[in-house]
């Protein structure tokens, strides 16, 4: 027999982000095999299970073939963000895969640079942080597939941001987050010296809203 076939399986990774909508992608060595995107910002816990199942089915891949789970750490509205983080954590445990975290804004910057190779001006990525604030990060370009974040992620009022960047020409992008971009950032990070981050903790950037309680007066 001379018919030699490679027995090496492609390195499959599963990328999950719920910092805005629900987006899940299956990647093989950095290229996208399947992706499911739900833009609506409220249905993460309903969607997440079948979204994962769908990309695996489309790619005809069993959970055991996944060597790495990439999760978007936000920033983003907390309730939805946590659904993806919890799912990624338990999928990784169940599939015995490794878990890595990526700042969700990095995925947006990656998508921008993919479509706009011009890197002469810094790139400001913003997403809606509600309460008249934005989550933001500033990038100076992309090196070997990894966006170079120089500031952020932070949360501020738009007025602060325009004042902060008033002397610095820049371009702004508000592209949607896709899990495919997130997975690609992790893929390229692994190839660089810095490597991927094992930190998959949420980037909340805000403390919970709560004030230490006092008994209120009832008579008066």
């Amino acid at each position: 027999m001379t018919n030699v076939t490679s027995t090496r399986l492609p390195d499959y990774s599963l990328a999950i982000d719920t910092s805005a909508g629900t987006t899940v992608a299956l990647l093989s060595l950095g290229s996208v095999v399947a992706e499911v995107n739900y833009l609506e910002p409220m249905t993460h816990s309903e969607r997440i299970g079948s979204a994962i199942q769908n990309v695996l089915k489309q790619g005809r891949v069993s959970p055991r073939d996944i060597y790495q789970v990439v999760v978007g750490r936000g920033p983003g509205p907390f309730t939805g963000l946590r659904v993806g983080l919890a799912a990624a954590k338990f999928f990784a445990i169940g599939a015995k895969a490794k878990l890595v975290g990526v700042c969700s804004l990095d995925a947006i910057a990656y998508s921008y640079y993919l479509a706009n190779p011009d890197q002469s001006l810094p790139l400001l990525v913003t997403t809606d942080a509600r309460r008249k604030e934005v989550f933001w990060a500033l990038y100076t370009g992309i090196t070997e597939g990894v966006p170079s974040r120089v500031e952020g992620p932070s949360v501020n009022k738009p007025e602060f941001l325009s004042d902060h960047l008033k002397d610095q020409k820049h371009v702004v992008c508000e592209l949607p987050i896709t899990a495919s971009a997130l997975g690609q950032v992790a893929y390229y990070q692994a190839l660089t010296d810095t490597g991927t981050s094992k930190d998959s903790s949420p980037l909340y950037l805000r403390e919970p809203d709560a004030v230490p309680g006092k008994a209120k007066k009832v008579s008066g």
Partner: protein, 500 residues
């Protein structure tokens, strides 16, 4: 009402025919047909018996060596419906089909019989075809339905349960009805400075705790994820953001391991907890669930099929009232144990605080409901009044009197529910059951009324994953189909939604 399922005998023919005619009227089988069905070598007929009288029957047919079985008929006397008999007959037929090597079961049902269709869907039946005007002389269509049988369910399924509805991250593991692990990580201390559970703080803590809690539970049970037969998760009621953490994690774990998932009701889980202590749940029973988030009175006729909400709090939960009054008295959080301590040596009759919703006019509308917000205000007013007059008040008396008012209403209404429904059984659940006075009064009053009282150990009363696992295990054992992956976390899930 208890019923027994046994194989049908020739002597049951008359009783079966009486029900056949009553239930199916125009398309009832003839006595001759029914007799040959009962006699045929490839059929399996069962009857349900209540007090020696046949009240229902069901039959299936499966040729020797065939991998397909057919459900031929199922009927329950109208006055016996809604008590779980139909479901029990279906369970028995399904189990028999599995034992005989069936992989699929088929049946036909009248298109206008939505009640039966609902029952069949519980067992995973889906419509696969239509027979036009099958039922004559009525000219009604038949739906052809089919279910695929999972590999024979082990009598003792290994089930992992995940609970994140409030401030405890709980993962439990059971095999059959036996507890193997019950690991709880509480974020209670993080809420202390706020004087109550802060939903966002609780949800953040769940995300952090889930991984370590899962690891510990698997280690404690000495099992691996591969060995599991199913995963169960609380999908409500509770804090929405907290529930979603558990739901997201459980769904992903189910997909990653290829295990079926069961979305179950938190309150019914509290009832199921008694199985872990007793090996079984005696029904019917009244259940009083009291915690920081719930104050509910349930009537449980069948754990998987028939749980009814008799009443609940219309404002604060009892545990919340303890927390709020503790703050008024300058005590720390959580209020329950602090007030228990402060009440030591106090006179419970010193101050007659109001008992919410116990006046005759309230009892008409809110017989089994609770209200604690007025009581909390009355305590605050009492304290403020004393302070404004620079009078000293005895904290022990206030604490004891307040606690007495809460306990009095809880126990009195629970016992009324038992007596009204002629059910001499009361089951307690929820974290507030830790309150020593509540236990004392419940024990004394139940004994006086001839009511059997069940109080599971405290580790099973507070929110925990084991109670979710045991409820999941009951569903698996009874042959219920798993939930589909797109169920939602529902903060106001009704207690009648036992599985979503």
């Amino acid at each position: 009402m208890t019923f027994v399922i046994r194989e049908a005998k020739q002597t049951d023919l008359e009783a079966i025919m009486a029900i056949e005619v009553e239930c199916f009227v125009n398309d009832a089988w003839s006595k001759e047909n029914m007799q040959s069905e009962l006699n045929a070598p490839h059929t399996y007929y069962l009857v349900a018996v209540v007090a020696d009288a046949v009240v229902g029957y069901a039959g299936s047919s499966q040729l020797d060596g065939a991998t397909q079985a057919d459900i031929q008929t199922i009927a329950v006397k109208p006055n016996q419906r809604g008590t779980g008999i139909g479901r029990a007959l279906m369970v028995a037929l399904t189990n028999q089909a599995k034992r005989s090597g069936a992989k699929e079961i088929f049946l036909e049902v009248r298109a206008d019989n939505t009640v039966a269709q609902k029952l069949y869907r519980v067992f995973g039946f889906k419509q696969i075809g239509l027979r036009k005007q099958y039922y004559q002389p009525d000219g009604v269509d038949a739906f052809v339905m089919k279910t695929s049988l999972l590999p024979a369910v082990t009598a003792e399924p290994l089930v992992l349960g995940i609970e994140t509805s409030c401030d405890e991250t709980g993962i439990g593991i059971v095999r059959g009805n036996t507890l193997l692990a019950n690991v709880i990580s509480s974020s209670m201390d993080l809420h202390a400075r706020f004087g109550g559970v802060v939903p966002e703080v609780a949800a953040r803590a769940h995300l952090e705790a889930l991984g370590p809690v899962l690891e510990q539970a698997l280690a404690q049970a000495k099992v691996t994820l591969e060995e599991l037969d199913a995963i169960a998760v609380t999908n409500g009621p509770g804090l929405a953001g907290a529930l979603m953490v558990g739901v997201g994690a459980a769904k992903a774990l189910a997909v990653a391991t290829g295990k079926p998932i069961y979305a179950v009701n938190h309150l019914v889980g509290h009832v199921a907890a008694d199985i872990l202590d007793q090996g079984k749940l005696t029904v019917p029973t009244i259940a009083l669930l009291v915690s920081g988030g719930h104050t509910s009175l349930l009537l449980v006729r069948d754990l998987l099929n028939d749980v009814q909400l008799l009443g609940e709090t219309i404002d604060d939960a009892a545990g919340e009232a303890f927390d709020k009054v503790a703050r008024v008295l300058g005590l720390s959080y959580p209020g329950g144990p602090e007030i228990d301590k402060a009440a030591l040596g106090g006179n419970p009759a010193a101050i007659r605080f109001p008992r919410g919703l116990t006046l005759p006019k309230d009892m008409d509308q809110h017989r089994y409901d609770f209200s604690f917000s007025g009581l909390k205000t009355a305590v605050a007013r009492h304290v403020e009044l004393a302070e404004s007059k620079s009078e000293k008040f005895v904290v022990a008396d206030v604490a004891a009197s307040f606690r007495e008012a809460v306990v009095d209403v809880l126990v009195t209404k629970a016992i009324a529910a038992c007596l009204d429904h002629s059910i001499p059984r009361l089951l307690l659940g929820g974290g507030v059951i830790a309150n020593s006075r509540l236990r004392e009064v419940a024990i004394a009053k139940c004994a006086a009324s001839g009511i059997e009282l069940r109080i599971p150990p405290l580790s099973l009363c507070t929110d925990n994953g084991a109670m979710i696992a045991i409820l999941g295990s009951q569903l698996v054992q009874a042959g219920y189909a798993p939930s589909t992956l797109d169920f939602s976390a529902d903060s106001t899930l009704s207690v009648t939604a036992i599985q979503s």
